[in-house]
């Protein structure tokens, strides 16, 4: 079974119930891990830009064709203007909000779905596990992007809601699979056994005993799902399947591509939105990798050069 092989990759780590608040140790972990710190700083920056774009630019309506067309970068227009006379930098700043909202909303809902399906599958076992795992595997394998393209076409130039729903439906399976295998490895631990002996209800055991021990993995699933959502949404909008009048990085890429910005020397217009997508994606990936290191000490970088493993 392929499932068994993949389970091996997820090393069982913290089987103990966590002491103290899990959130507290998480913040310490971010502070002490350099990769996490970099990812966190980028993420916070984008959050600020999404919340108060007015801080960064004097332009109030980035879609308005207010300036001369196709200017190069200058002091007034940091990254120049588009072929329609919009300020590229202002569009970038205002576009942050939509990309971030898609990432967070799709990420949260997809993670909720993976927790629901993954943890129940792992904890229930038996036929229920069989069915839920099968569903997970099927969704994992089906090539989602072509499906999304087809769906977005049928639904008409996709509104934000449609895009998010589609991203949730297609983005939960990977996290569910990992959560299932981790739950499976927890199932027969003593602290769960004692809860069962105490006669606790199943829902209580799952919510109060199992879920807190899975915090780091749930967080990793969320980051994975958010990364997937950012990249896929940008790809869709780039192809022109989003709302062409919306302020977002993907839409900027769509217009710059349709105006051949690369070939006509408007480099920033074509490259900068993708750079933002890449930065946001990288911040999620860095945080994710750092959490991997935190939850699995075996993967942490070795500080000394070359350890002699032959004499443990």
């Amino acid at each position: 079974m392929t499932a068994i092989m993949v389970d091996k990759a997820v090393t069982p780590t913290s089987g103990r119930a966590p002491k103290g608040r899990p959130g507290g140790s998480l913040l310490t972990a971010i502070r002490t891990n350099r990769k996490a710190m970099v990812g966190f700083v980028i993420f916070v920056f984008f959050c600020v830009a999404a919340a108060v774009p007015q801080l960064f630019t004097s332009v109030r309506d980035p879609q308005l064709r207010a300036f001369d067309v196709s200017l190069g970068s200058s002091r007034e227009h940091l990254l120049g203007t588009t072929a329609f006379g919009q300020d590229v930098f202002a569009q970038l700043i205002y576009g942050t909000r939509q990309s971030l909202v898609i990432a967070l909303v799709a990420g949260v809902f997809a993670t909720a779905l993976s927790v629901l399906i993954g943890v129940s599958a792992g904890y229930l076992g038996g036929v229920g596990d069989g069915i839920l795992s099968l569903i997970t595997d099927v969704f994992l394998v089906i090539p989602t992007f072509p499906l999304i393209i087809v769906l977005a076409t049928y639904a008409g130039k996709g509104s934000l809601g449609v895009v998010i729903i589609v991203l949730v439906i297609t983005g939960w399976s990977y996290g569910a699979r990992q959560l299932r295998s981790q739950t499976l490895s927890l199932r027969n631990r003593d602290f769960l056994e004692s809860a069962r002996v105490r006669g606790e209800r199943r829902s209580y055991i799952i919510l109060v005993e199992v879920l807190p021990t899975l915090t780091s993995l749930i967080l990793a699933s969320f980051l994975g799902a958010a990364l997937y959502a950012v990249l896929t949404a940008a790809g869709l909008q780039f192809l022109g399947l989003g709302d062409p009048s919306s302020a977002s990085w993907g839409t900027m890429l769509y217009w710059s591509q349709s105006q051949s910005a690369l070939q006509t020397d408007q480099v920033w217009w074509a490259i900068a939105p993708g750079l933002c997508v890449a930065l946001l994606g990288a911040s999620f990936a860095l945080l994710n990798y750092a959490f991997d290191e935190i939850s699995n000490p075996a993967l942490r970088p070795v500080r000394r050069t070359r350890v002699k493993r032959t004499h443990p």
Binding site: M1, I142, V150
Partner: protein, 328 residues
Amino acid sequence: MRFLLKRMGFFVLTLWVALTLNFFLPRLMPGSPAEALMARFRGKVPLSSIKPLLAEFGVDDSQSLVSQYFDYLANMLTGNWGISTTSLGEPVSKMIREALPWTLGLVGVATILAFVLGTLIGVVAGWRRGGKLDSILPPVFVITSALPYFWIALLFILVFSVWTGGWLPSDNGYDNTLDPGWNGEYIGNVLQHAILPGATILVTSIGGWILTMRNNMITTLAEDYVRMGRAKGLPNRTIMIGYAARNAFLPNLSGFAMSLGYVISGAILVEYVFNYPGLGYLLYNATINVDYPLMQALFLLITVAVLVAVLVSDFATFWLDPRARTQG
């Protein structure tokens, strides 16, 4: 044997689910194919002549949904994919036959190359843990694996094509002035056109393989049988390849099959950016022109391709891992 039968069952089931989704989801969406076609012809064509056109590919309102569904399944499986509405009258199967070799050649080769290279680098990085290679590569590839495919493609075009004044071609699969044929000039030209899109796929997909293989190696190197090998005084090479890498490779192999769908998604965008005449570009065009028969057939084909790869990796697992053989 039970293992293989199980996997074959999974293959059939997933294919069925994909086909069913492909049939029902569009019908749950607002708007109908007929309306979309009407809009495309800007109302110049009356509804009465659109209906038979739609019936060609199984969207026939006069039939019940159930019988439509079974007709659709039968048509999909027998390769009876109908007629494209974009290039009027051309059979979908012919268009796909023309595009398929391009995608297989470009995406197939680049993906497999990324997997093999990434796995090898991952083995070395995990083995020399804490060495130079290992301290540079993982953070770099964490970032590259999060980059959007199309952005790398744009960047490559900018650097190697625009800034260098057309040093490498960034458009189409070959020079239009050449006659396709088995001659050196044409083949060289095709290869030249494949460099940038191929490199894009390689760069964005290799990081994932390196990271997972490195992590698997590290987990495996902590196993007792590796220590046993050292105690026996086996040469390092034997331990690295025969003991550690061989076992660490198994999860990577199933991971490869599982993530292929994602790679294909990226490849569609890469083909679009480079106007590469493969399936992804065809799918894009089908979408733009609301060409339902072509879209459905392409989705089917891509799903089958991914599922076949999953099946192949299952067979390889079966062959490599004695546990899979005995467990059933």
